[in-house]
Symmetry: C2
Subunit: 226 residues, 2 copies
Amino acid sequence: MPQLLHHKLDPASRLIRLMFAEYGIEVSLVDVAPWRRDPDFLEINPAATVPVMLDEPFGPVVGVLAAIAHIEANFGPEGHIEALLPENGTERNEVWRLLEWVLLKLGPEVTSYLLEEKLIKRDLRSGAPEPSVIRIAKANLAEHLAYFSWLLATRRWLAGDTLTLADFGLAAHISVLDYMGDIAWEKAGEMKDWYARIKSRPAFRPLLADRIVGMPASSTYADLDF
Amino acid sequence: MPQLLHHKLDPASRLIRLMFAEYGIEVSLVDVAPWRRDPDFLEINPAATVPVMLDEPFGPVVGVLAAIAHIEANFGPEGHIEALLPENGTERNEVWRLLEWVLLKLGPEVTSYLLEEKLIKRDLRSGAPEPSVIRIAKANLAEHLAYFSWLLATRRWLAGDTLTLADFGLAAHISVLDYMGDIAWEKAGEMKDWYARIKSRPAFRPLLADRIVGMPASSTYADLDF
């Protein structure tokens, strides 16, 4: 069984967990706090990031892009499961456009800041959260939510008619932000209905059971009727 | 013929140009300064980033990840050309690990800052470069160069024995940084020999001819014997 070195509130790790769960592949989870820079972990991934997948006889599968490629190549959907990366070129390009948005814009402009201020600083005892950073990240978040709500006003799923990796990529971030209480659901527009549908999928259930010691989840986090 | 909306000093656009050139595919280039947020361009890509590929009958191919997937699917290597994404799983995972490093670490920690301070502020007339930002970006760059030199001490190419997309991903950034005079070649270790080999490939030649009006290239930029 493949092993996944992950952190419970790391969005990229959550994307890979959702992908495994949707494809019905069992994976054994190992908790890592990559920012503690444990030497044994740095030897596997000098970038000090998760996810890292261990799947003999392959070498370590480091990072979210490698994990996506590895899962598609080795655990890809059989006939009875819908593919998370569409066969059709135009649809697949749309999935990659949105995944890139999540990885290269939403992540660095919003989620990374809030995780740094609320989770990592607490874990490393390296000071109190900086209110000005949190304020900027939340202002950025409002713009991202507006864009995704606009898209979802005319689409059932983020990239079109079917659920894809783009939905899981965004839902992974939203779930982490929701855990920390950073989503104003009353202002979330079309995204609320979309997230309710994602949240009720069996693949999502294990994520909703995750808890960080000393850092309780928001009241909406595990509530399917939020 | 596919069109590529790009900027001459955008590293992600350069990666895609190198990929096209190495596979021997002609592409028509259209200059865009995405930070000017031209409404016609934002309609194609609300993320205001390049590259964007136009390749009928497909919809716009937005972003570097979509472009890589699109090229592999539609213009991929024929028998006589070496693939830039290896077939072998362990090797392909290593290519994705390094591409992620370049896209999610080297880019945001180094190249984006230096392009913002030196190119974009100048183009938008939005103020002088901030020396403290440049200093931090160059300190980060030194750490990245040390890591890649360490890798290249035991490898002919970045991901192993053959040239891959990881080499083009890194070379795209190094070439932009070199244009701006930000690479201290006398301290670049094993990377210098590697970059000399990349630079002498036919695929690289068009990039070395690029110039930005009012922003001359460094003396080493187009020199094959730097």
